[in-house]
């Protein structure tokens, strides 16, 4: 059906603004706030609005705003790597599992079953906690935890694609497996994979910051939103800014990415229906 409600691209605009600001923070924080981690014991905790400190300072006299800007990097880079990494695994293994079937398929789906039997937060906490991992170990662990769902997703849509007549026509034409996979199946799977990846960035952002809230992931002294939030619990009565700024940053970033991912997914679905 060629009916499409005319829809202004309001979502990309609404989400694009906060996301580009965050992106600028990530790329340029070392120039914007070169002294974010400088401690100033003399100042100590100050409340929001104190001269020069929009959101106040923490126990060590660090400016909350500067810390939050500097923390954008560790908040966002890891999740992007996680989403990319797990989707790469997902596409690689999912395509093979979906297209070839057999023992690999069985093994992968059992692995996914096993991991889905436990909450991600719990497994991430236990594994990173026990191995004393730093930031990148946490990223690696989360990639392992995220990949099963991606494998499943890709596998599912590869299987859905392989049953379609145009894939069968390609087989009848005598095209090779590799060509069918890369020219025919993947281009039709990638749009869905991309929007899933976006949703995963948001999910990973929340998981990473949750871990650093629990004291895992980022090393001590490294600026990070989750760490800031964890610290803010002791400052609540003296500086509400230490809570509100990082909390809002996390919530807004995650919500914006989610919205965008949802919107994209809907678009892709719509397109595949109208085709």
């Amino acid at each position: 059906m060629k009916l499409r409600r005319s829809r202004r691209p309001i979502i990309p605009i609404v989400t694009g603004i906060p996301l580009s600001i965050i992106a600028i923070f990530v790329i340029a924080s070392r120039w914007i706030v070169p002294n974010a981690t400088r401690q100033d014991i003399m100042t100590g905790v100050t409340s929001p609005g104190t001269t020069g400190h929009l959101f106040g300072t923490d126990q060590l006299g660090r400016d909350i705003t500067q810390l939050a800007i500097a923390g954008a990097g560790s908040a966002v880079v890891g999740p992007i790597v996680i989403a990319l990494g797990s989707m790469m695994i997902g596409i690689l293994l999912g395509t093979f599992a979906g297209y070839m079937g057999g023992w690999l398929d069985l093994l992968l789906s059992k692995y996914a079953d096993l991991l889905l039997a436990l909450p991600t937060t719990l497994v991430a906490l236990v594994v990173t906690g026990l191995v004393d991992g730093g930031y990148w170990v946490t990223v690696l662990v989360l990639i392992m935890l995220f990949s099963p769902t991606d494998i499943r997703m890709v596998r599912g849509s590869v299987i859905a694609q392989s049953g379609r007549p145009y894939i069968e026509s390609a087989k009848v034409l005598g095209l090779g497996r590799t060509r069918i996979m890369f020219r025919h199946i993947l281009p039709n799977v990638l749009p869905v994979a991309f929007s899933t990846m976006l949703l995963n960035v948001a999910f990973a952002l929340v998981s990473m910051s949750a871990l650093s809230f629990l004291g895992l992931g980022v090393g001590p002294g490294v600026p990070d939103w989750g760490r800031q939030l964890s610290d803010s619990r002791d400052l609540l009565d003296r500086n509400w800014g230490s809570l509100v700024l990082p909390a809002m940053l996390i919530i807004i970033t995650a919500a914006a990415i989610n919205l965008l991912g949802d919107w994209l997914q809907e678009r892709f679905e719509e397109r595949s229906v109208s085709r």
């Binding site: 906490l125 236990v126 949750a210 939030l229 619990r233 919530i251 990415i257 989610n258 949802d262």
Partner: protein
């Protein structure tokens, strides 16, 4: 005894699509899953960097005698498989060993804490269901309305927002600023306990409710678009009759999703308990991980997995009972 008869009876019970067969198959699968998980959980002891015996010593003074006694107690010198079987045997008798941090058995430690977590989880679950399911149905019924759009927007924020950030914000606003709810701690039993649990439960429920809302809304909209709804309208069925048709059909996916939500519930309690300094299983796990209190970590992981697996099993059986298609044709 007539063996032919009992054989026939047995094959009947186990025939394709029979409830007994369904339950047996699903039970076996659940058992297998838990067995594999127990193996992985046990292996944690050896996967943790460092000598297992030393890890089990904790902060006590390391003396050769102590190490030896721990090795004896945990059979650390035995082959891996026999260590595992020993451990599994104890676990099945409810014995997870002793906590390293507190000098008590893991079982005592857990039984002190488990009530609070269960209270928190059930309160959040009830909140979630009471709020999200009706809202999801209402939003689907009037999709595109102001109600639908505002709740849908809120649910996107709810799904994305991290539990602990929401928790801290609520804590600040209602606990410190407005001073309505207690800020930290678990209260002293009875009503006070529940009063202390209100904010944490709302925190935990916010994310879950967003998820359940979305799933319910999608499920009901999918049903509303079905031909049978148009057909029912064309036959002049009342609004109430049509609603019951739709809800009965939508109930199946919604119930399934509620089962899945359970897994998230137990992940979420960790963060909420830490945020609100509640003495439950979740905060115990967080503390034990940092402290490398392995027996406690093992026990909690395995328990959580068991609860989640049993929930999934229950949901599957309910699904089977509710959906005549599955009932007649056997499990998918």
């Amino acid at each position: 005894m007539d063996t032919a008869h009992s054989y026939r009876r047995l094959t009947q019970l186990l025939s394709r699509g029979s409830l007994t067969r369904f339950v047996i198959v699903r039970l076996a699968a659940t058992g297998l899953l838990l067995l594999v998980l127990s193996f992985v959980v046990f292996a944690l002891l050896h996967l943790t960097p460092g000598d297992p015996a030393r890890n089990l010593v904790g902060v006590r003074n390391v003396t050769p005698e102590l190490l030896q006694s721990i090795r004896d107690k945990y059979h650390l010198n035995d082959p891996f498989m026999s260590q595992y079987l020993h451990w599994l045997g104890n676990v099945l008798h409810g014995d997870f060993g002793e906590s390293i941090r507190n000098n008590t058995t893991v079982t005592t430690l857990l039984s002190d804490r488990v009530t609070l977590t269960l209270q928190l989880a059930s309160l959040s679950f009830v909140l979630t269901v009471l709020v999200a399911v009706p809202l999801g149905i209402a939003a689907a019924w009037r999709s595109g309305s102001v109600l639908d759009r505002s709740v849908s927007a809120a649910s996107i924020v709810g799904i994305g927002a991290p539990t602990y950030a929401v928790g801290l914000l609520l804590l600040y606003v209602f606990g410190l600023w407005l001073d309505i709810f207690p800020v930290y701690g678990s209260g002293d039993g009875g009503l006070d306990r529940w009063w202390h649990l209100v904010l944490p439960a709302i925190t935990l429920a916010s994310g879950l409710a967003a998820m359940v809302f979305k799933l319910t809304r999608t499920a009901v909209i999918a049903e509303l678009n079905q031909d049978y709804v148009a057909f029912a309208q064309s036959r002049g069925l009342s609004h109430r009759q049509i609603r019951s048709l739709v809800l009965r059909n939508a109930m199946i996916p919604v119930a399934t999703s509620l089962g899945l939500v359970f897994a998230f519930l137990f992940g979420g309690t960790i963060l909420v308990e830490v945020t609100f300094a509640l003495q439950g299983i979740g905060s115990l796990l967080a503390g034990s991980v940092t402290f490398k209190d392995l027996p406690v970590v093992q026990a909690i992981t395995l328990l959580t997995a068991t609860v989640i697996a049993l929930t999934a099993l229950t949901v599957d059986i309910l699904y089977y009972l509710v959906d005549p298609r599955v009932r007649k044709r056997g499990p998918r």
